[in-house]
């Protein structure tokens, strides 16, 4: 039986972009203002899950052919990797450094190596969250 979900589909088409943009924004504002990888990751993951809810798993899987377990693993790898980089440079584990970068269109941005770490966290959060939801919903 198919339920009539025209409203949901229409709204999601618009809202999904807002959610994903908000997620990315939160992720990048992380080191000087409230935000960061965990929260950004949660928002992104909830957007993806919203897609799964609206359309069905197969459709989304076709468009986004990631194995989310591997996304999570990649995230942990990046996060611990930034720590290992510190060992290579012979400063205490998890040390960080920062600097200002010029980006086209965005202008001056203050970036730190924490951002890399946060990227790892974000990927981990997305990966685990989606894996969990899928593993509950997959079997009938």
């Amino acid at each position: 039986m198919r339920i009539n979900d025209v409203i949901l589909r229409t709204v999601v088409k618009v809202v999904i972009f807002i959610i994903l943009t908000l997620g990315v924004y939160l992720f990048f504002s992380g080191h000087n203002a409230p935000g960061g990888g965990f929260i950004g990751g949660l928002v992104l993951a909830s957007g993806i899950i919203l897609l799964y809810v609206t359309y069905d798993i197969d459709t989304i899987q076709k468009k986004m052919p990631f194995d989310f377990k591997k996304v999570a693993a990649l995230g942990v790898l990046i996060a611990t990797g930034t720590g290992l980089g510190a060992i290579y440079l012979d400063v205490p584990f998890l040390s960080q450094t920062d600097g200002h970068f010029q980006f086209p269109f965005i202008g001056d941005k203050h970036l730190t190596t924490v951002t890399l770490f946060e990227a790892g966290v974000a990927l981990t959060v997305i990966g685990t969250l989606v894996t969990m939801i899928l593993s509950i919903s997959e079997d009938e």
Binding site: G81, L84, I87, D90, P92, F93, L94, S95, Q96
Partner: protein, 493 residues
């Protein structure tokens, strides 16, 4: 820089993640896992030498000076624990390769074993009590998955209870941390110790200490061990052995650390309660071991007895008693792993769990049988083997402190251990052979190798007691005089 301290934590976790990408290449997974663990063992041995030479070393994460940042501390006690757990893991893995089966290997089991080891090593090495909580959680998450992995009926049922118990335990841990933070305003263990020593341990702090005590004794299986026999017997053998060797011992380590470093000032309250709990644990564990006829449950109750015995040393609190505890802890990690592997192999060979249904195994597998006998002697504490020195030291300490009741309980428990294990030996190894030569299963060579290696470790711990005692004395020295630890952490800041 002392970045080497963090390696025993970070290498297993890093490798665990890499293994996720290699899901389908089982042989590669095995090779990587065992190489990693051997590497970690070598690193921790090196670390032990370093600590022995240079005293306590520490690493402040990202350069935050204590007491503000999180830090890792390596003193002799914690490094000894890391070294033992890594070596035991190597042999458990060796055993796992030959027995665990394709289905588990496909389900990321090695990743989770490595995560477990990472969490355990982290708990041993951390110098911050909240970080201890986090490492506990890493370790517990891995253990939840390992208990449930395989998804059989019994496993799911037991793992649900196991997880629930531990979730509630963690909540209580957090409650204790919240009260601790609101009283002393710091979470660095050395700093807590200093402030508690300065301000005196008032009833509020003693209460916090007791809440922590309840949490750790839940993890260690001290009195609150009702969850232990159920959840330790359901996972595959190699995992059981790892749990037996590592999980409860982390709880014991945390107890020893807490009550020697942070809250040693009210022994008449805290140490009395520890003593009562240790005694009760021994009595209840003995009852369980005597009543059961299932080999796995008997082995599980033996863990409980050993935990009680180790904590007698802490409760008595004299120098030789604590040295005995440290020594016995190391011995017990090796011996319990071996016991569980052996018992698991018996179940694997015969397909039975009750001792009444097994008989005459020693005819079929002579070497296997004698290694079991050796393990039994070591656990009971027969002189040239590993259990002896620890028991003597704890005994000596209890006599010094005049706690004869605990002394009696401790040594009576040895007899019960002997009886319960001898029960298995007599009825399963001796007697009529019921397995004919035709349907005798061959003993996997890799697992035999791990038995022999662990047995050799046990003999080495016993015979090499002199060499080991140097390290143990050093560890004890730091435990008995917490000021050494505190100074090492806070001096430069």
């Amino acid at each position: 820089m002392n970045n080497i301290i963090v390696l025993p934590l970070i290498i297993p976790i890093f490798t665990a993640v890499i293994l996720v990408f290699l899901r389908n290449y089982i042989v590669v997974q095995r090779m990587i896992t065992i190489t990693t663990m051997i590497a970690v063992s070598i690193i921790s041995f090196f670390l032990l030498e370093l600590v022995q030479r240079e005293g306590i070393i520490k690493l402040d994460f990202s350069g935050w000076k204590p007491p503000f940042g999180i830090l890792f501390v390596a003193d002799t006690f914690s490094v000894l624990m890391v070294l033992t757990s890594s070596i035991v893991t190597v042999f458990c893995l060796l055993y796992a390769f030959s027995t665990i089966g394709e289905r588990h290997e496909n389900m990321f089991i090695y990743s989770f074993v490595l995560l477990l080891v990472g969490g355990v090593n982290g708990s041993f090495l951390t110098g911050d009590i909240f970080n201890l909580f986090v490492c506990f959680e890493v370790m517990l998450m891995a253990s939840y998955v390992l208990v449930a992995l395989g998804g059989e009926k019994v496993q799911l049922r037991e793992s649900l209870k196991y997880v629930l118990i531990n979730v509630i335990g963690s909540s209580i841990f957090l409650i204790a941390l919240a009260y601790l933070y609101s009283t002393v305003k710091t979470l660095n263990m050395a700093h807590i110790a200093e402030r508690v020593a300065e301000a005196g341990q008032d009833p509020m702090l003693t209460t916090v200490a007791l809440v922590l005590f309840i949490v750790f004794s839940l993890k260690a299986g001290l009195v609150l061990f009702f969850w232990l026999p159920g959840s330790y017997v359901v996972p595959p053998t190699a995992v059981q052995a790892l749990f037996a060797a590592l999980l409860t011992k982390v709880g014991v380590y945390a107890l020893i650390r807490t009550f020697t470093l942070m809250f040693p000032h009210q022994p008449e309250v805290t140490h009395t309660i520890i003593g009562i709990f240790a005694g009760a644990t021994i009595i209840l564990g003995c009852m369980g071991a005597l009543a059961s006829r299932n080999v796995l449950t008997i082995a599980a109750y033996n863990i409980v007895i050993a935990v009680g015995f180790i904590l007698i040393g802490l409760a008595v609190g004299t120098e030789s008693a604590i040295a005995g505890s440290v020594y016995y802890l190391i011995h017990d990690m090796v011996a319990k792993a071996l016991l569980f592997l052996l018992v698991g192999m018996m179940v694997y060979l015969t397909g039975e769990k009750l001792i009444d249904h097994m008989s005459g195994l020693i005819r079929n597998y002579p070497l296997f049988g004698w290694i079991y006998f050796l393990t039994m002697l070591a656990l009971v504490g027969i002189p040239p083997l590993s259990g002896f020195v620890g028991k003597v030291l704890i005994g000596k300490g209890s006599i010094e402190a005049g706690s004869y009741v605990l002394l009696f309980l401790g040594f009576a428990s040895s007899l019960v251990v002997l009886f319960s294990l001898l029960k298995i030996f007599l009825s399963s190894f001796f007697g009529e052979t019921i397995i004919t030569n035709e349907d005798k299963k061959p003993l996997p060579i890799a697992s035999m190798a791990s038995f022999i290696a662990l047995a050799l470790c046990m003999i080495a711990i016993g015979l090499g007691a002199e060499q080991l005692l140097v390290y143990v004395q050093d560890a004890t020295n730091i435990l008995v005089n917490p000021s050494i630890y505190i100074d090492a952490i806070l001096s430069e800041s």
